[in-house]
Symmetry: C2
Subunit: 116 residues, 2 copies
């Protein structure tokens, strides 16, 4: 089955999980089409200065795969890292993370949440 | 956990599944880290003229999400489509598909295979 880009489901969140600005999720697999394997399969976009606040994953785990732009992420141990295109943040079940666009252009990344 | 781009596992396949040229898979989630939910979570790159031959999915289902370049895909019903950045091909369990780079630059897409 083909889905053209304009047919994909898009969600816009403001100050998501205590973050700043605007997060846009473009769902390339809808949760209901994922055979119960996960709950998010999206291209996420954070505008410059926007962020997702720190949050814990319970019962699932998330992967960020950076496509473009510059991310400031905080890992479960509180350490901060700069991620750019091709870099990955993997957050296991029970751990926390946050992400912020610390660059001048949109930050785009693949976000996948699978159930543990 | 952070993985920088140079730390990701990369596979190179020639004439994959009866296709032409070269397919490169960069694994942003390794199969062994996916809690049994799927077997491929990769950025796939096909050089111009390269392809993956037609094949059936049995017991799993695959999604292609085009990042850049131009793809000629064949769906389960034998129909051909041109996909570009932002477009999706969803191939359910039991169905077949193929993909070819019909453009002048590398075709890059996210490929995800989940178990059904």
């Amino acid at each position: 089955m083909i889905k053209k880009s304009h047919e994909l489901k898009v969600d816009v969140h403001n100050e998501f999980l205590g973050g700043k600005g605007t997060l846009t999720n473009t769902h390339f697999i809808n949760k209901e089409d994922a055979a119960g394997k996960g709950r998010l399969f999206a291209k996420s976009t954070l505008t410059p200065g926007s962020s997702i606040g720190s949050h814990v994953h319970n019962g699932d785990f998330e992967t960020y795969y950076i496509l473009s732009g510059k991310a400031l992420v905080t890992d479960n141990d509180g350490k901060e890292y700069i991620l750019e295109a091709g870099d990955v943040m993997f957050t296991p079940n029970g751990q926390s993370h946050s992400i912020e666009n610390c660059g001048d252009v949109n930050l785009e990344y693949i976000a996948i949440i699978l159930y543990d």
